[in-house]
């Protein structure tokens, strides 16, 4: 019985362990045009893909929640041109984004650049997930406690009632499954 509880907790820990794993891996970059033009000086030589790469991290300042690389407003077209010129001048992606954030605020990027706001944004879901898990854990605990209390009073503290529910491993797996199926159907 205790084994099962530890296994269960182990399962939870394993699942939680997967969380940082998948959160940290960035998705594979799709194969892009090899020429990212960080060092050319001719703005016509900067590929559309390089511009879109930067623009896809930003949002239209006027349209609300419209990504910059697909926005059709004049301002967005102008901004993409600015990005193109800055790329041609040798600016890195981060430098360009910092420039826009300084002039137009955190709202032009999809994840806030300011550290405090960033923490604020991510803390929410993290805290909520933890609270939800803790809540579930306490629910299990209180169920378990209530159960133990009732069981102990009825049969005395030494007998382990739960073993009765363990399957009889000598049964044919099929029959066992069918029995379980049919007992489920009864409820």
């Amino acid at each position: 019985m205790k084994m099962r509880r530890y296994l269960f907790i182990g399962l939870i820990v394993l699942l939680l362990g997967l969380v940082p794993l998948s959160a940290q891996q960035e998705p594979a970059d799709p194969p892009t045009n090899p020429e990212t033009a960080a060092s050319t000086t001719d703005s016509a030589a900067v590929s559309d893909d390089a511009v879109n790469e930067v623009a896809s991290r930003m949002y239209c300042p006027i349209c609300e929640m419209e990504p910059l690389h697909t926005c059709r407003a004049q301002t967005c077209i102008d901004w993409r041109q600015v990005i193109r010129e800055q790329l041609a001048a040798g600016q890195t992606e981060d430098e360009i984004i910092t420039y826009f954030v300084n002039n137009y605020g955190d709202r032009v990027v999809g994840i806030p650049a300011d550290d405090g706001l960033r923490l604020f944004s991510f803390a929410g879901p993290l805290v909520m997930s933890i609270v939800a898990l803790v809540f579930a854990f306490f629910t299990f605990q209180s169920w378990q406690r209530r159960n133990e209390l009732v069981v102990q009073s009825a049969t005395g503290p030494t007998e382990d009632v739960h073993d009765n529910k363990t399957s009889n491993t000598t049964n044919d797996a099929d029959t066992d499954y069918r029995n379980r199926l049919e007992s489920d159907l009864l409820h």
Partner: protein
């Protein structure tokens, strides 16, 4: 004439709804069956009344009654008939009336179906349903009235004031018909798509559908009858609402993918998320009520879940229509925000308070005892945890954090796709893993041995799949882990179906097909559920493929040139023409050929349609050329994002390769099939037959004993 009838009909239905509330509550109090019946009839009567009202608006749209403001704002003389009809829900006012109609249809059906079986709950059910309907009718009549017309009222010797009013003001006359027609704005070309036509009605059906279980839950709380009656009565309603909501979301995604031209189907926009939240809580609720039905546990939690689902529904429609958070979906500014906010706030708070009230009274006690950590109950609780965590996280990202930041941190933030793609994948991953593990647990306790044996085959299949995936070149850890989790959930579902069929074949000597059909017929709920899970698995595969491995290229080329998209694919620009269609729009059409590994696959025709507006400006609409296979979508757009070149000599093309994206749509179809199977009514048995078969527990073989 039409407007007068429509207005009168809507007003009558508000009166009927208010009467129904009063009569139901009083009848319930003094135990007058006659009064309750009268309330029920009044409630049912709202349906034909609203049908007439919507009918009037529809006729007005079809017969071009431009004096009605709504008709002028959503159609113009050149609008095709099909879009005249669908303009009924194309803008705020009409869609609100349509929403009321949907509500009246569902409530009438629910009352008729449940009248015999749930008499004790009826007074409160009627009262709650009609209270919700009355609120929306109030909006229809006093805040956003679709029958409002424009009048000319004398305002001095030679002057006429332009007045908006539903009923004719004194001395007023109607403006000239041709002037009205000239003033008509017509339908936004973006809305001229099959997906857009059907997406709002589906969503409304889904949203409104959840009113039924909510009303029954509230009735259970109010009346004190907190057995599982209210759950059993509303189980199918919940499934139906959930189905429509799922459909609405998938169709919305399909429309965005086809028409909006950014190669994607979900933008994590606040309005999209506002519709997603009820789906998430609703799915948690769907699973959680199973525990209450089977084991009599989690009663309080289920109450909170259904309150949460309906609250999310109202919040969703409030946030969308009031412009609470600006988004690309925003409706025009209106005064609808305040009344909707008050409605949302009050039903949420009052409902939660009622749950707490009954809970503290001790009426929501668990019936069974917790028997094991590795039991289906525990798995379902974990399922709930994940869905609630997802709901809270997405609410925080779309509403909580931006609102708080704007109000208290003096800083506007945008939490966009990047944010949600960091926060939600871990939670979805755990969800899929649970989907794999939970079906093989049993109510009560499960031994490790039993679980292990059930998991063996699916796990082996998953490992083989992972090896196959990695061997064929996919090595991105995120994708492999994702595919593994999703695949295992799918294999578990398939294996359970196989095992059930095999067990029947061995026990009864049926042939496999017979056994399969019988299995599904006798256990619609369980096996329909497995099919739904399979649908979610297929969708998951499509989402991982089209998100992690999407290829995007944009380039401007001369005619005859070839764009190298990636190692395998090229696109050749062949030709360009300018045409004009019969409805007056100009079409810039490019001809391109997909070349894969040197071989020509297909020719596509990405184009730009330019619609002539009522003010003679041109509104462009980009229509992609796409080649769809199971493996991927090869998707081409002409003209960039408004700053590309469009012409014979040089043209800009944006190319997306979306691997596995079609699995998203087909997964949706599987999901629909599964929900149908789950919700399909069982053969109704006479009461005596039912009594006979439920007498002895050993009669479990007769699966009809279980509803």
């Amino acid at each position: 004439m039409l407007a007068e009838i429509g207005f009168a009909s809507t007003s009558l239905s508000l009166i009927a709804a208010l009467y129904a509330i009063g009569a139901a509550l009083i009848g319930g109090r003094i135990h007058s069956d006659r009064l309750i019946l009268s309330a029920r009839n009044a409630a049912i009567a709202t349906f034909p009344l609203l049908l007439i009202a919507c009918g009037m608006l529809l006729i007005a749209l079809i017969t071009e009654q431009y004096q009605i403001n709504y008709v002028r704002n959503t159609t113009d003389p050149s609008t095709p008939m099909f879009y005249r009809v669908t303009a009924l829900w194309g803008a705020q006012r009409g869609s609100l009336l349509f929403w009321s109609l949907t509500m009246s249809i569902f409530t009438a059906a629910a009352l008729l179906i449940s009248w015999k079986n749930d008499r004790r709950l009826m007074p409160y059910v009627i009262a709650y349903m009609m209270a919700a309907l009355a609120f929306f009718l109030y909006l229809n009549l006093f805040v956003e009235n679709p029958f409002e017309r424009v009048w000319l009222q004398p305002n001095g010797p030679n002057d006429n004031a332009v007045v908006d009013s539903v009923l004719i003001p004194p001395n007023a006359s109607a403006p000239a018909a041709d002037l009205l027609a000239a003033d008509a704005s017509g339908l936004n070309p973006l809305l001229r798509h099959f997906g857009m036509i059907i997406h709002p009605p589906m969503l409304y059906l889904g949203f409104v559908g959840f009113l039924i279980p909510f009303a029954f839950a509230m009735a259970a709380l109010a009346s004190g009858d907190l057995s599982t009656n209210w759950i059993k009565a509303t189980r199918r309603w919940t499934l139906v609402a959930w189905l429509f909501l799922s459909l609405g979301l998938i169709l919305g995604g399909r429309w965005a993918y086809d028409v909006l031209g950014w190669g994607g189907y979900w933008g994590w926009d606040p309005v999209e998320n506002a519709a997603f939240l009820p789906w998430l809580v609703g799915t948690a609720y769907l699973h959680s009520v199973l525990i209450q039905e089977k084991r009599g546990m989690l009663k309080v939690w289920n109450m909170f879940l259904i309150v949460g689902t309906f609250s999310a529904v109202i919040f969703g429609t409030f946030a969308t229509r009031s412009g609470l958070i600006e988004s690309v979906h925003s409706f025009a500014e209106s005064e609808i925000g305040t009344p909707m906010f008050l409605f949302w706030g009050s039903i949420t708070f009052v409902s939660v308070a009622m749950v707490v009230w009954r809970w503290r009274q001790g009426l929501l006690q668990d019936e069974h005892h917790f028997t094991g950590w590795l039991s289906r109950e525990s798995m379902f609780v974990l399922n709930n945890v994940i869905f609630v965590a997802l709901t809270l996280a997405i609410f925080w990202g779309s509403f909580g954090a931006p609102i708080l930041s704007e109000l208290y941190l003096e800083e506007d933030i945008t939490l966009g796709v990047d944010y949600f793609m960091r926060v939600t994948p871990p939670l979805f991953l755990v969800m899929y893993i649970l989907m794999g593990v939970a079906p093989i647990t049993a109510w009560g306790a499960t031994s490790i041995n039993r679980m292990g044996r059930s998991l063996l085959v699916p796990l082996a299949a998953t490992i083989l799949t992972v090896i196959a995936i990695v061997a064929t070149g996919t090595t991105t850890p995120v994708a492999v882990v994702g595919y593994a989790a999703v695949a295992m959930a799918g294999y578990v579902a398939l294996f359970e179906i196989y095992r059930g069929t095999a067990a029947r074949v061995r026990a009864r000597n049926e042939n496999p097909l017979q056994a399969l059909v019988a299995l599904f017929t006798r256990n619609r709920r369980r096996y329909g559920g497995y099919i739904v899970h399979l649908g979610i698995v297929v969708i998951g595969l499509g989402v991982i493929g089209s998100t992690v491995f999407q290829v995007e290229r944009q380039e401007t080329v001369d005619v005859g040139d070839v764009i190298q998209v990636n190692d395998e694919y090229q696109l050749r620009y062949d030709n360009f023409v300018v045409q004009q269609a019969t409805d007056g729009r100009f079409i810039d059409r490019a001809y391109v050929t997909i070349i894969r590994n040197g071989e020509e696959i297909r020719q596509l025709e990405p184009r730009i349609d330019r619609f002539v507006q009522s003010d003679n400006t041109l509104m462009p609409m980009t229509i992609a050329g796409a080649h769809s296979t199971i493996e991927n979508d090869f998707y081409v757009l002409l003209g960039g994002a408004g700053d590309g070149e469009v012409g014979y000599n040089r043209a800009t093309f944006t190319i997306y390769i979306n691997p596995l994206v079609n699995l998203v749509w087909w997964g949706g179809l599987i999901l629909i099939l599964g929900t149908f199977i789950s919700a399909w009514p069982n053969e109704t048995r006479s009461a005596t037959a039912r009594a006979r078969t439920t007498a002895t527990p050993k009669m479990g073989k007769r699966a009809g004993a279980m509803t």
